[in-house]
């Protein structure tokens, strides 16, 4: 199928049906639309063809707009999946290979899960790093109970019932830079970076 004709006509058709003002359509709205369409299509049939067709449309859209920061509110365990999918998508858009994209998705999954388990809610911000060294930055912020004994969590002498020790140490091992700030009863902020090799 010709990529140059199909996606545009599909998008225009869908937009007309949705009564959305074509001029006011931003990349982010379109992307949300695509993601939900893809998810809907997947629940009927998980097909490689659907996936590759969506990837085509998506990469066409992407090539016309610079990458933007994404913010994911983490309030339920479904948000953990949403956050790591967003991270994997952005990682691939930036140019990370499959293995690094999986590492980044794992990092985000780990951070989002900590937020959900220990704080109940918080947010994950995924930002593309531009400039000389391209990469991706992930910030995880919550206003939860904080981490009491950070040193023993990070050096491996402490393992919680739910295994946070392994998780955070794992995140550190998978990242190029790792910063953590935590204060009891105030919250935790973790910032990691991963650069293109």
């Amino acid at each position: 199928m010709g990529n140059d004709i199909l996606p545009k006509s599909i998008i225009n058709n869908q937009i007309e049906k949705l009564f959305i003002d074509k001029e006011g359509l931003t990349f982010n709205i379109l992307k949300q639309l695509l993601i939900s369409l893809e998810e809907a299509a997947e629940s009927f049939k998980s097909s490689a063809e659907i996936k590759s067709e969506f990837r085509n449309i998506y990469s066409m859209l992407k090539s016309q707009t610079p990458l933007q920061e994404e913010l994911i509110q983490v309030e339920s365990e479904y948000d953990i999946v949403a956050a790591r999918n967003a991270g994997a998508r952005m990682a691939r858009d930036i140019g990370f290979g499959n293995t690094d994209a999986v590492k980044i998705a794992t990092i985000i999954s780990e951070l989002a899960r900590n937020i959900f388990l220990y704080s109940g809610s918080g947010k994950i911000t995924i930002t593309p790093i531009t400039g000389l060294r391209k990469g991706l930055k992930v910030m995880a912020c919550d206003e939860g109970p904080g981490i009491k004994d950070l040193d023993s969590v990070m050096n491996g002498t402490y393992n919680s019932e739910r295994g946070m020790g392994m998780g955070l140490r794992g995140v550190k091992n998978l990242s190029d830079t790792f910063e953590i700030e935590t204060k009891e009863e105030e919250g935790t902020t973790i910032c990691i970076r991963k650069f293109l090799r």
């Binding site: 953990i80 499959n98 293995t99 999986v102 590492k103 794992t106 392994m166 140490r169 998978l174």
Partner: protein
């Protein structure tokens, strides 16, 4: 969200679990329950967990699957994990996570060989 469930397939005295969806916490807990109950009901000798459809394995998911193998072992059932993707294997090693309660195999065919070996003992 509707209640999802991962099916458990019985093959003679084996159980086959193929994980094809994004695992979230409720699903993992449900699966752990289902596996233990099915092992008891069917007197199963082996459990094969196919993870070739799992795209991301964080510490929670890795530990949950390892726990399933531990539970099965306590009930006299050995577990073989099949189809860990290369990028997931790399990630797990780099994180320092181990899944030591189960045997592993590249594919179902090899898993059957592993199971035949330990059921003969």
């Amino acid at each position: 969200m509707p209640t999802e469930r991962i099916p458990i397939i019985k093959m003679d005295d084996l159980l086959l679990v193929s994980i094809q969806v994004a695992l979230h916490d409720n699903l993992v807990v449900q699966l752990q329950d289902d596996i233990s109950n099915t092992i008891r009901k069917n007197n199963s000798k082996g459990l094969v967990i196919d993870v070739s459809g799992v795209e991301i394995m964080d510490s929670f998911i890795a530990r949950s699957i390892n726990d399933m193998a531990k539970q099965a072992k306590l009930m006299g059932t050995e577990t073989v994990i099949v189809g860990i993707r290369p990028e997931i294997a790399i990630t797990l090693v780099e994180m320092g996570l181990e899944m030591d309660a189960a045997y592993t195999a590249l594919n179902l065919e090899n898993a059957m060989k592993v199971i035949n070996d330990f059921t003969r003992k």
